[in-house]
Symmetry: C2
Subunit: 516 residues, 2 copies
């Protein structure tokens, strides 16, 4: 026979930036997704599972004049004539494609939820993977901000459903139109909202200020202002005021040039930044002052007012959902209300320092996304929950264990009695008890118990020929056994207090009782 | 502002060979996966969700000396120095990689289940997509055929759990070693089992006879025999006998050369092909005769005997699991027992002709797959359920409807009372009733009812200012309404028998009752 050339052994590795999920990691995420989808369904949303693969064209990755598409997605081309294909990088771009494709068959408004992995071709980092789960709900075709309010309410309900108690989260709501109104009111009229062409969500994510400059926006005065606003957390009210006007010295003594706004204009920006009050009504009053006579600004405040009223009427008060002008999500993309859910409790980071957990979900109104395909504006709003972050939060709070209880293990004392051992697990399973026979090499009994330990088994069942003759089995309580092993003397331990003899005929009933 | 060049509108299409799943298509598959994983867990299997992306090297697609990897997978390379990556084409190759990678941390035996989409870069056809679901369970590290028997039993349990009653399915079991033994016993010794190098499952799938020839297997005499065996269904016992010996005339009168086996050898092959009896004990006796003195053949029969005994002891008789020599799955790949679940009922095909539904799951023992990575043989056996086919079967039998009941729709008669309508759905949701307010443009009331119809809503709630004043709402039974509309006269229909007035305070209780 002709020899086939021997291949070198392949490496057994997960590709860089990807990971595998085992046991409880899978089932706990599934349980969370189940709870989330239950709430989404209760609100009338319908499931959609779109293809994981999209054409690059539909995703909105505009190909440069080279062979490779933009960074950020995993893309390939089968042959020179074929479409470029890519893995979806979020669940919103595919929704826009699906709605445009099936709009004549879908109800309007179309409320859909979707959950599943998305892929990003980005530099991986600690806790940052190239494949991760999203869980989205969107309403397409509803222009009323009642749709936005509803999604905020649903977001609060969802967080409580997965185990974040009231007080441990806050949903913060803002409106892109308000900031635009403020900037308009101080005479900065270049337009960051209405882009020369509609952007996809991912473009928006990439649309950092520097990027905007690249896209040839002539006047950058608004951008200058935005850059200073972004420093508010760091330099505070007075610092921003100086940066917006004549400039300031930083901590190193270096002088940073100011933007050169008049004092009054700077004050207006500051009044926007500090508009947040402990109750939404006061915040809204402050925002009205901040937008002055700007029509778009007033519209934005009116929308926030309506959202606030709708939510208050249903009992969602400021302890759950609050108007907050500092929310600036996806600046380049959203066209109206934006919202974000933040967990407010502290957890310890890798170095043991307490820190706020931060954002776990966000979204907003994007009225231009379907238009890319159809030419007609289609209003849409929706939220995306970062499922993996939310799981991490629950784990950090100790509300989710990393281990699950394993099956009852029936050990093999006598290879010839395999069929009999199988019938024991058969009985246990029929009673709904997770159970299995040890299927490795049974020679070394210690290995069987090590296996049971590794599987986190609560009980092991032992039946040798002696027990079989007497119609009994030994049941070993592995949890109790492990506890006793920690404290007991050798004599106590040899007495095997964690092991008991049970009549074969009573086995299922006894085990059911032992497992509670 | 500089104009950005206008892009042509992208096409809103699912990539060729892919599809989107809506509503019930998603939730029904999820319900099925939930039921399957429940059984798998009961049997002690642990969840694994490996990365959807693998290195081409780990998947076992050996790159030719060109830029593109083998057909069959979706693969790409980020840059010239980077690894080729690919979407997984099944769940078994990733399991082998995961087990090799984590073998020191995983329990042995490692029982894992996995479910999720896989991707094949194949020519799409009717009902044949490039992305589809698999749901696998495998035991790695158990050489005993008790592991194979257990998976066959679990497969039977699983089919019953998802709604295929006993009698509507059959699990058929064979053993690769038996056929090899038969061929050995007639003096054909070239080796199709132990390949010059271990093959991946996908290679196996591709390893059709013609392909084997390409792979330079010198002697093709076994292949010749296999080709004739494959015609058994078509030409019958006598036809195969002729083809194995001196040749035969086909229906058109053309003469087909025979393989040239002596009569006795041909009879032995025939005895293998016709070994199946109505009970497994008889089948096994027949197989013993067929393999003669071949050691590998006898080993194969002994393994089947043990599987048969284990299953019989647990009550899995020939009405559920049967020894069947005609099962030849993945001929190039499996090393021992192979098994297949077939639905035995008839359904009507696209043209209304009755046909057997056929195979919905299959698997077997593959002892060489992990060895690719580690150099050490690791025994493994497992099953893969074709979830989408199984769903199609249940739908074809009318055991699964394609529609789900939609939410209760609260219509909008008065835009200013939106908060109030929202509070109605809030109450309904709090009572666990799926409900939503119509969020489209409320001007045209007919559109609201059309929407309710499209959503398959059971009830619509109507509250105008008149009703609000009187503290009542109208409840429209849309299911009853649709029935009445079919038969009633105009007068009867105008009497609105499907509509009733309900006190606002009793609304939730009444709706709960109406929905049963």
């Amino acid at each position: 026979m002709a020899k086939v050339k021997k291949q070198p052994r392949p490496k057994a590795v997960t590709p860089k930036g990807f990971r595998d999920y085992f046991g409880a990691e899978v089932t706990q995420r599934k349980a969370m997704l189940d709870k989330i989808s239950e709430v989404y369904q209760l609100y009338g949303f319908e499931a959609l599972e779109s293809s994981a693969v999209e054409t690059v064209e539909a995703l909105g990755k505009f190909l440069p004049d080279v062979d490779r598409p933009n960074e950020g997605v995993f893309a390939w081309q089968e042959d020179d004539d074929a479409d470029w294909l890519a893995l979806r990088y979020d669940l919103t771009a595919p929704l826009a494609r699906v709605y445009a494709q099936y709009r004549n068959d879908l109800p309007t408004p179309y409320r859909r939820y979707a959950m599943g992995p998305v892929w990003r071709n980005e530099k991986p980092g600690p806790g940052r993977f190239r494949q991760f789960y999203q869980c989205d709900a969107d309403t397409v075709g509803a222009s009323s901000v009642a749709a936005d309010a509803e999604i905020c309410a649903m977001l609060a309900d969802t967080l409580e459903a997965v185990g974040i108690p009231r007080g441990d989260y806050i949903v913060r709501v803002n409106n892109r139109k308000v900031l635009n109104g403020v900037l308009e009111s101080i005479g900065l009229s270049d337009d960051l909202i209405v882009n020369p062409r509609p952007m996809t969500l991912d473009e928006a994510a990439l649309a950092l200020y520097s990027d905007m400059v690249k896209r040839n926006i002539e006047s950058i005065s608004r951008l200058d202002v935005l850059r200073q606003i972004d420093k508010f957390d760091k330099v505070g009210r007075e610092g921003v005021k100086q940066l917006l006007t004549a400039g300031r010295k930083d901590d190193s003594g270096a002088f940073i040039d100011g933007v050169g706004l008049p004092d009054e204009a700077a004050e207006r920006v500051i009044s926007f930044l500090t508009a947040k009050s402990s109750n939404s009504a006061e915040t809204l009053e402050n925002l009205k002052v901040a937008v002055g006579s700007s029509a778009i600004g007033r519209e934005g405040v009116a929308e926030l007012e309506m959202i606030s009223e709708l939510l208050a009427y249903q009992g969602y008060e400021a302890d759950r959902i609050v108007i907050d002008p500092s929310v600036v999500r996806g600046l380049g993309y959203y066209t109206g209300p934006v919202y974000e859910a933040e967990l407010t409790f502290e957890i310890n980071d890798e170095k043991g320092r307490p820190r706020q957990f931060g954002s776990v979900a966000g979204g907003g109104r994007y009225d231009d996304l379907v238009k890319r395909f159809t030419g007609q504006e289609v209003p849409a709003t929706g939220v995306s929950i970062g499922v993996d972050r939310l799981l991490a939060a629950l784990q950090a709070k100790g509300r989710m264990t990393k281990e699950t209880v394993g099956p009852v293990i029936v050990t093999v004392m006598d290879r010839d009695r395999m069929a009999h051992y199988q019938s024991i697990v058969g009985e246990l399973r029929a009673a709904g008890i997770r159970a299995e026979v040890y299927l490795g090499n049974p020679k070394n009994f210690g290995n069987q118990l090590k296996y049971a330990d590794k599987r986190n088994a609560p009980l092991a069942i032992i039946e040798g020929s002696d027990e079989a003759e007497r119609g009994v089995v030994q049941v070993k309580d592995l949890v109790l056994g492990a506890e006793i092993a920690k404290t007991a003397s050798l004599e106590e331990w040899k007495g095997q207090p964690a092991q008991s003899e049970v009549k074969r005929s009573e086995l299922v009933a006894v085990i059911k009782k032992m497992l509670g």
